[in-house]
């Protein structure tokens, strides 16, 4: 759909995990004429302060879920100045929203098995994709890793919809002890997934490890990338990433979703 620049209203705010907030926004302009954002797309929030130019730039966040006919949810990790300001928003507060931006995941044909791999806050857009898949009768498998149990966002809602979830934590406080890529390696060894579609979002090192696995096992993998952004619209060229071929791509509008092999090499 065409992106819009609008004022969104905070309708809900909840803590889901340590330093991790769920913020629901009402932004009816994103749903005009029967349009709706697609999984993997993101929004830019800001200006963060109406009466000050500090912080100066707006902040990008993946669309985490659609929670109503005019509502979207974001999952926000409070990591710095901007997210601290966003974390103090209360229901009724309004702020600028630009979106939906970016390309989103290639929605797989319903006949294919689906494997989703999330590291940390990378789980944000994969919730949306998982829910849309469930709505089409696909029951994806989600591998989800975080540093420790208190950083994991609850997944019972997804499980109730038919997603099978396997957790990993670096310190072993929940699920598999180790990286989610290691968990995935183990699981893929046990199970053949020839024509599966897979999507991953998380830190670069994790995406690289998952891409190596996918390459070895012939998985069709898409990865969602992050970078510093100023405009979010393809105008500033601040978010350019160089693909393995050397070609430059703007993460905000050519991405954020790319074929893993384009990014990390065939």
């Amino acid at each position: 759909m065409e992106a819009v620049h609008t004022q969104a209203e905070v309708t809900k705010r909840r803590t889901l995990a340590r330093s991790t907030l769920l913020i629901e926004l009402r932004a009816e302009d994103l749903f005009k004429n029967g349009q709706r954002p697609a999984p993997g797309q993101f929004v830019m929030l800001g200006p963060l302060k109406e009466d000050s130019t500090d912080p100066f730039l707006n902040r990008p966040f993946s669309i985490h879920r659609l929670s109503g006919p005019d509502r979207l949810e974001l999952l926000i990790a409070v990591v710095g100045r901007g997210t601290t300001i966003l974390g103090s928003l209360m229901p009724g507060d309004r702020l600028g929203l630009l979106g939906p931006l970016g390309n989103g995941f290639t929605f797989p044909e319903p006949s294919r098995p689906v494997v989703l791999v999330a590291g940390g806050l990378g789980v944000a857009p994969l919730f949306f994709l998982a829910e849309e898949l469930c709505a089409c009768g696909v029951q994806p498998r989600l591998f989800y890793g975080a540093g420790s149990v208190d950083l994991l966002v609850p997944t019972d809602g997804l499980q109730a919809q038919g997603v099978s979830v396997k957790l990993a934590t670096d310190d072993g406080s929940a699920g598999f002890a180790g990286f989610v890529s290691e968990l995935l390696a183990q699981e893929l060894l046990n199970q053949e997934t020839p024509d599966a579609y897979s999507a991953a979002c998380g830190p670069m090192d994790m995406l690289r490890a998952v891409t190596d696995l996918a390459r070895n096992r012939g998985l069709d993998l898409e990865v969602s990338l992050e970078s510093r952004m100023a405009c979010g619209l393809g105008a500033c060229l601040g978010c350019t990433v160089f693909l393995s071929t050397g070609a430059g791509r703007r993460i905000c509008c050519d991405g954020p979703v790319f074929r893993a092999r384009e990014v990390f090499g065939p």
Partner: protein, 311 residues
Amino acid sequence: MSTVDLEVSIGRLTLKNPVMVASGTFGYGSEYAGFVDVNAIGAVVTKGISIYPTDGNSAPRIVETPSGMLNAIGLQNPGFEVFEREKMPFLRKLRSKTIVNFFGSTVEEYAELAGRLDTVEGVDALEVNISCPNIKRGGLAFGADPQTAASVTRAVLRRTDKPVIVKLSPNVTDIVEIARAVADTGVDGITLINTLRGMAIDYRSGRALLGNVIGGLSGPAIRPVAVRAVYEVAQALDVSIIGCGGIVEWPDAVEFLRAGACALQVGSATFRKPSAAMEVLQGLEVFLKKAGHAMVGDLVSTVKVHGGGHP
């Protein structure tokens, strides 16, 4: 309220109003077309182009800083041919003027590109970038020395009949000296200023935050430097000045006009609010009307300085 004539002239270039969007902050116009009325503003200044495509610098290319940002894009652009084929059709249809910002790595490259742009229908003026801090050769190297700046400008003027604007860098000891050398060539106008060289370091890891280590500072943080540059040049020379640097809202625009600019460019503020330039224009028009001014020129160089003595 009376009506205001918003039209301004920058040498041979006439704009329906004084507000433009600055190079590199508005892409090639089409990126923002879905959100704002691009036709409302006086001109779109394009992202800088070169003869051949340029990849630009490695990531990270932007870092937020207090009331501003550093960028080290490295003048990434698709090159003249792709620009003409893919970007001009949109720009040609606009009712705003199109000013093409460009650069080269030798005087001859500047001249050749000026010659090619001269033939492109729909290009209303050229803005010569001799002030980019983000490329190793060219850019700033041409803008830091009065003789070199003048010779690039003369070479460009010889190859085009279109109006020529030269964009200067604040990263010099004496901006008036450079501006004078450029103005003496007979250019139509001077844009003041491009970004200030800057750097930021993550204090924990010790890492430089930009891939290119050093970048260009923009945003409200540089506004006082830009206003000073406009003021100094306006006091010394008789040349049309386009003020640029940290304009976020309309009072900032008035500040630049008072300092001596006759037109304005809104840059990084567009990243916060796509409609920043359009809102600056609206606010400026209302201000002029309320103050009873008939035209933009009434405000130009109206700064009052404190009169020496004590209160």
